[in-house]
């Protein structure tokens, strides 16, 4: 179990942002598990996905549920906290204590709301780098994460290659496809179409854009599952009834399930954060600061890498993950690749997938032994 910690970073000089502007004295909320050893060579940085947070292996303060990767991180787990010092920060732009739209802007004492600068995945990584510096770690043993977390891993490999001994990017891509952007735009538009969004200034209002955020989550949730998984879990089953109602109530189980996903999400997530973080994902292109060349982007990378994809993931499919492997191969890097067969879709990296766990554990432990 780890307590949430909050540190103020960029106190001396501001963090310059890709989109212009800067953040100074910003907060990063993070958790740690295990102990940093004397050589300071056993740290693992876990990067969370779009709606994840720093509660990787401890109970979530709002939902009271287990941490989002508690099956992977913990004592005797695939990432064994008896052995490793695990760090998981909430990204900037997030809503669980790191500086983001719902936090107070020190310049005027009000919530940032949409005055918060548009940030990028690279900005998030530069902010994480300041946390790693603050913790006194020169070289991270392993950086890992799935989905957006995987994008952060790729950005770490590109921006701070000398600080990363090994990396496990999972179910991710080097940039967002038109389909990825389209799905995020659908989510943003549903938030902004909610009159309660009030151009982002809803923090002191009784009315919050819960419906818009809820619909955004419902749409996204469909993209996290595979057609097969939805079909086998719900099919055309009816929810607590034996016949159709001929109404717009939730007749089908899948409708009820999605509504539940939407309703519970709004309790723990900030609508403006959702706008900012999805925007950062859409803008992400790890080759963008290298004239579009992925080879250039990773030319200084020396890390040992394991890429993982899932057969039924159509959001960040195997083909996109293999593109990453191909680039690392071209550079002659020590790269491994494994495709886990599962019908659980993109969400697989958050679920109980024993073969996935075995791969991570095998890679991380053997890499540590050969350190």
């Amino acid at each position: 179990m780890s307590e949430n910690k909050i540190v103020t970073l960029a106190e001396d000089e501001p963090l310059n942002l890709d989109g212009g502007g800067s953040l100074s004295k910003f907060k990063t909320a993070y958790t740690t598990y295990g102990k940093l050893n004397d050589k300071k060579n056993n740290s693992i940085l876990v990067c969370h996905a779009l709606t994840g947070d720093q509660y990787v292996a401890s109970d979530h303060p709002i939902t009271k549920k287990n941490g989002w990767w508690s099956m992977v991180v913990g004592p005797d787990k695939p990432i064994d906290t008896n052995k490793f010092f695990v760090i998981c920060p909430n990204v900037i732009g997030g809503c669980m204590g790191s500086t983001g739209p719902k936090e107070i802007n020190p310049e005027n004492g009000k919530e940032f709301a949409t005055d918060f600068p548009v940030i990028t995945i690279a900005d998030m990584v530069r902010a994480q780098k300041l946390l790693i510096d603050y913790l006194g770690i020169e070289k991270i043993f392993c950086v890992t994460g799935g989905s957006m977390g995987g994008m952060l891993v790729l950005e770490w490999l590109s921006k701070f290659p000398e600080m990363v001994h090994s990396a496990v990017p999972i179910a991710t891509a080097t940039n967002h496809s038109a389909q990825n952007i389209a799905l995020n735009e659908l989510a943003r538009q549903s938030i902004m179409a909610d009159p309660n969004w009030q151009s982002g200034n809803y923090y002191h209002s009784d009315k919050k854009p819960m419906k818009g955020l809820s619909v955004a989550r419902m749409a996204a949730h469909i993209s996290y599952l595979s057609k097969e998984a939805l079909q086998s879990k719900f099919g055309r089953n009816l929810q607590d009834k034996n016949s159709l109602d001929y109404s717009f109530d939730a007749d089908f189980q899948i409708e009820s399930y999605l509504r539940h996903q939407g309703f519970t999400f709004v309790d723990r997530f900030d609508a403006n954060s959702y706008l900012y973080i999805t925007r950062a994902m859409d803008y992400f292109d790890v080759s963008s600061s290298n004239n579009g060349s992925l080879i250039e982007a990773f030319k200084n990378t020396q890390s040992k890498i394991l890429c993982v994809s899932f057969t039924s993931d159509w959001l960040y499919p195997t083909s996109e993950n293999k593109k990453i492997v191909k680039v690392f191969n071209s550079l002659g890097l020590n790269v491994s690749f494994i495709e886990i067969e599962t019908e659980n879709g993109h969400d697989s990296f958050l679920l109980d997938e024993p073969k996935f766990f075995e791969a991570i554990k095998g890679f991380i432990n053997s890499t540590f032994e050969n350190l």
Binding site: K326, F337, I338
Partner: protein, 203 residues
């Protein structure tokens, strides 16, 4: 297909590889050949393996391995990335041995290829006398369950190399662990070697 004899074959293959070479083992199984070459030749090794259980074994040993298929995934490597590529007892199980061989000599400066020799006298005898597809230690599958798609003889292999303008530099005789320079087809090899092993290259 663990037809490989670790004690015998690994040593012969290791003899062909200089210290510190970069090596890809295509169809690397559980990574034991790469481990052997790391220990004795300090190679910088990579593996490719189609069977996920074996990929997991490689990962746990610290071997960099791609879950992939020799028929489709060798295209992902740039020209001459490796000093050596190795393909042991896999050629006959590929969909297109011809393109796999072309890819091997493209991605590496030299390729080591071994395969069961269908021209071996026992195989000929089995067909001739029993009218049965041969099953032996090196060819351990019955005809209806074999993953092998393209059997060839040592002479067929030599002909294919000629057709593809691939140079055969050395040949190996695994039964008495001997390597020698290649100087054309040889009656004894094609009849009496159960396994063909060759060092080939293409500039």
């Amino acid at each position: 297909m663990s037809l490989i004899n670790e004690n015998k074959d690994f040593g012969v293959i290791a003899e062909l590889i200089p210290n510190n070479a970069s090596v890809i083992d295509v169809g690397c199984n559980d990574g034991s050949l790469l481990e052997y070459l790391k220990e004795y030749k300090n190679i910088d090794g990579r593996g490719m393996e189609i069977d996920q259980k074996k990929v997991q074994l490689c990962l746990a040993k610290g071997i960099s391995v791609i879950e992939g298929d020799a028929d489709t995934d060798l295209y992902d490597y740039p020209d001459k990335l490796f000093d050596y590529s190795i393909l042991t007892y896999t050629l006959q199980a590929t969909k297109s041995p011809k393109t796999v061989m072309q890819q091997l000599v493209r991605i590496s400066k030299k390729a080591i290829i071994s395969f069961p020799n269908f021209g071996h006298w026992k195989i000929g005898a089995s067909l001739l006398l029993n009218r049965k597809m041969p099953v032996s230690k090196k060819l351990s599958y019955s005809w209806h369950e074999t993953p092998n798609l393209h059997f060839c003889t040592i002479n067929d292999f030599i002909d294919l190399c000629e057709e593809l303008e691939i140079k055969i530099e050395k040949k190996g005789d695994l039964s008495n662990k001997k390597l020698s320079n290649f100087s054309g087809k040889n009656f004894l090899d094609s009849y009496f070697n159960e396994v063909g092993l060759f060092l080939v290259s293409k500039d």
